[in-house]
């Protein structure tokens, strides 16, 4: 039913134009490691709703993070969203931490999509990341 209403657009639906963004895509080097395996996975991160402004004005990032993380008790587990959010806070965020983070998670009012699905359906912070996952963060806190 809705297919017939679709319009032709070159937009990404994320609320920014390329002219307002710094570099369309930048490869960020993995950090020198913190108690993790050699193995890494590649994650694509995109920002919408003006959120890229606190990430060096780059709406799109490809990053490498460890495949597994070592817990405090020495046990190993696959890397999850909680780790990614912390990693982003330490490695990608360029300013105003409080605009992105809230405790271990993201601030209420920021929507998260994991491979185009609402992260509320995917286990939120507990979601275990896989190689080439695409994560989108969209801020709804700006005016419309």
């Amino acid at each position: 039913m809705s297919n017939s209403d679709d319009l032709i657009t070159t937009s990404n639906g994320l609320g920014y134009t390329t002219s307002s963004a710094n570099h369309p895509e930048q490869l960020v080097k993995p950090p020198t490691n913190i108690s993790a395996d050699e193995d890494t996975i590649e994650i694509k991160i995109e920002f919408g709703g003006g959120l890229h402004l606190i990430f060096s004005s780059q709406p799109s990032h490809k990053i490498n993070i460890p495949k597994n993380i070592i817990n405090e008790d020495g046990s190993k587990q696959p890397v999850n969203m909680k780790y990614l959010v912390k990693w982003m806070k330490n490695n990608l965020l360029s300013e105003r931490e409080e605009m992105f983070c809230d405790g271990d998670g993201v601030r209420p009012g920021i929507l998260v999509l994991i491979n185009d699905a609402d992260w509320e359906l995917e286990g939120e912070l507990e979601y275990e990341l896989r190689d080439r996952d695409e994560i989108v963060f969209i801020s709804t806190l700006h005016g419309g």
Partner: protein
């Protein structure tokens, strides 16, 4: 986690968890329920539109008004409302803020094939927000902008000869406004802020078709439909008071998503006692510009007089009971007249402009 099937069609994979109901729905079912709910808001009771009505969509280029322009175009066709739709944008004259979003509106004009009218503060008041901020400073300039925008929308609509203005205010915005009006004890506004449609004599009807649409769903809709919108934050002082209400509301929503509709429901349930209603000021028209006002002078004329007199922030305290004539040499706002049909750019003209805009990039 294994993929969850859609709770409506039971076949496709659920991609959205609806905040209002907790339902898990697939992309196509999401579009359908979202559009249907807006259609229900529009048609409930006597309905907000009349057939053949000329309707201006207050378009800022942001997510809400862009999704509104899209959904209204779709519903107008699908359900044959018979509406004549226009886009109406206000250019506050804020360098580096409105420029990009006005480009977005021009692109929307092309995408939806709707005529666009842009009215600027500079045209109407002889002042841009840049100039106002230069004179009054960064504190309190939102008051000027808010008063001027409201009147500019009405005047733009009058110039288009439209009967009705629709805005993209969503459920979150309305719940915020309810909270703000309770906190500052604004009884008069509390009474009307939850109405889908407001109209008083001599004003153009205003409606909020997204009254029950959650911000989360509007953003998801724009994302899945890949709509062209522009997110930005005003470079001048943000509306701090609303900001607090907004953060508080988002925290509530995180605990209990239905909090937003619940607050709207509370706002709707408030009823003023007759004796209180009688004590409120009656509306009249501004002696200087003819715009609706509860005083001899409307707020915009009073603010403008202060600006013209070269006042700083004290322009905010300009009296509204002065004489009808402006001091000599002051610029004033043109008389407010409805149905003075002038100056609409046609869609084709818009396409040319939009193409030029794209090529510049």
């Amino acid at each position: 986690m294994p993929p969850t099937p859609c709770s409506l069609c039971h076949t496709a994979r659920a991609l959205v968890k609806r905040p209002k109901t907790g339902q898990q729905v697939c992309k196509d079912c999401f579009f359908e329920v979202f559009e249907t709910e807006v259609h229900n808001t529009i048609t409930e009771g006597k309905g907000i539109f009349e057939r053949g009505e000329k309707v201006a969509i207050g378009a800022s280029g942001g997510k809400d008004s862009t999704v509104l322009a899209h959904v209204l175009s779709v519903l107008n066709k699908r359900h044959d409302y018979g509406l004549d739709l226009f886009l109406l944008s206000i250019d506050e004259g804020i360098t580096g803020y409105r420029d990009d979003s006005l480009e977005t509106v021009k692109q929307n004009q092309v995408e939806y094939g709707l005529p666009l009218k842009i009215l600027s503060y500079n045209e109407l008041y002889g002042w841009t927000m840049d100039k106002i901020v230069e004179q009054v400073g960064r504190r309190n300039n939102c008051t000027f902008c808010g008063v001027f925008r409201r009147q500019a929308l009405d005047r733009g609509a009058a110039q288009l000869g439209v009967d009705h203005i629709v805005t993209g205010h969503n459920a979150d915005d309305i719940a915020e406004t309810v909270l703000m009006n309770i906190m500052r004890g604004d009884i008069a506004r509390l009474g009307r802020c939850t109405a889908v449609t407001t109209q008083s004599e001599d004003t153009i009807k205003r409606s909020k078709p997204f009254k029950y649409a959650y911000e989360k769903e509007i953003v998801m809709y724009a994302y899945f439909k890949k709509l062209t919108y522009f997110s930005t934050e005003c470079i001048y002082s943000p509306d701090a008071y609303r900001g607090h209400a907004r953060v508080f509301l988002k925290d509530l929503e995180a605990i209990r998503p239905s909090a937003i509709v619940d607050i709207i429901h509370s706002g709707e349930s408030f009823q003023l006692e007759q004796s209180v209603q009688k004590g409120m000021k009656a509306m009249q028209t501004c002696l200087r510009c003819g715009y609706i006002s509860s005083n001899d002078l409307c707020k915009a004329c009073a603010l403008l007089e202060g600006l013209e007199a070269g006042l700083d922030r004290s322009a905010l305290r300009q009296k509204q009971d002065s004489t009808s004539a402006a001091p000599t040499g002051h610029r004033t706002i043109p008389m407010f007249e409805r149905y003075s049909n002038i100056g609409v750019t046609q869609p084709t003209e818009g396409i040319e402009k939009a193409i030029q805009a794209i090529e510049i990039r």
